[in-house]
Symmetry: C2
Subunit: 86 residues, 2 copies
């Protein structure tokens, strides 16, 4: 693994894990009114498309990182829909 | 361009543009208390790393899509810092 790979891996890890602080914030406050469902729904759709792309190209890193992103973003989508009703 | 490229392009476009509804929501409401600055700061750092990766690999699509993402995410970071003070 060269330094370019490490930069790519750092980028992917940051982007994948970035949803976690937002999940924790909603988990604590139970407030989602200011958060855009459209944003997380569009993101989730894009991530599913990346996974399909990764499967078709047999690109394992794309499949793995986006699968983690998918789970995290689905949690956010669920939170937004669930807490918006309350 | 084959159908796999189109899927990849759709994925990238969705993810890049997903920030726009959140920007518009904050623009209208001026409220950011429920939105995680840590999320958008981590995202922005990850996107900068992707641009560096794209430059080092001479990968034009990565540079272009992430540059648009960078602008959109910087707007969000600015909004969160600016409106949090109000």
């Amino acid at each position: 693994m060269n330094y370019i790979d490490i930069i790519g891996l750092t980028a992917g890890t940051c982007i994948t894990l970035s949803t976690i602080p937002q999940i924790l914030k909603v988990w604590k406050t139970k407030k989602v009114k200011e958060i855009s469902l459209k944003m997380f729904a569009t993101l989730t759709f894009g991530i599913v498309m990346w996974i399909v792309y990764g499967i078709l190209k047999n690109d394992f890193p794309i499949i793995i990182t986006n699968s983690i992103s998918l789970v995290l973003n689905l949690i956010m989508v669920y939170f937004i829909i669930y807490y918006e009703k309350e």
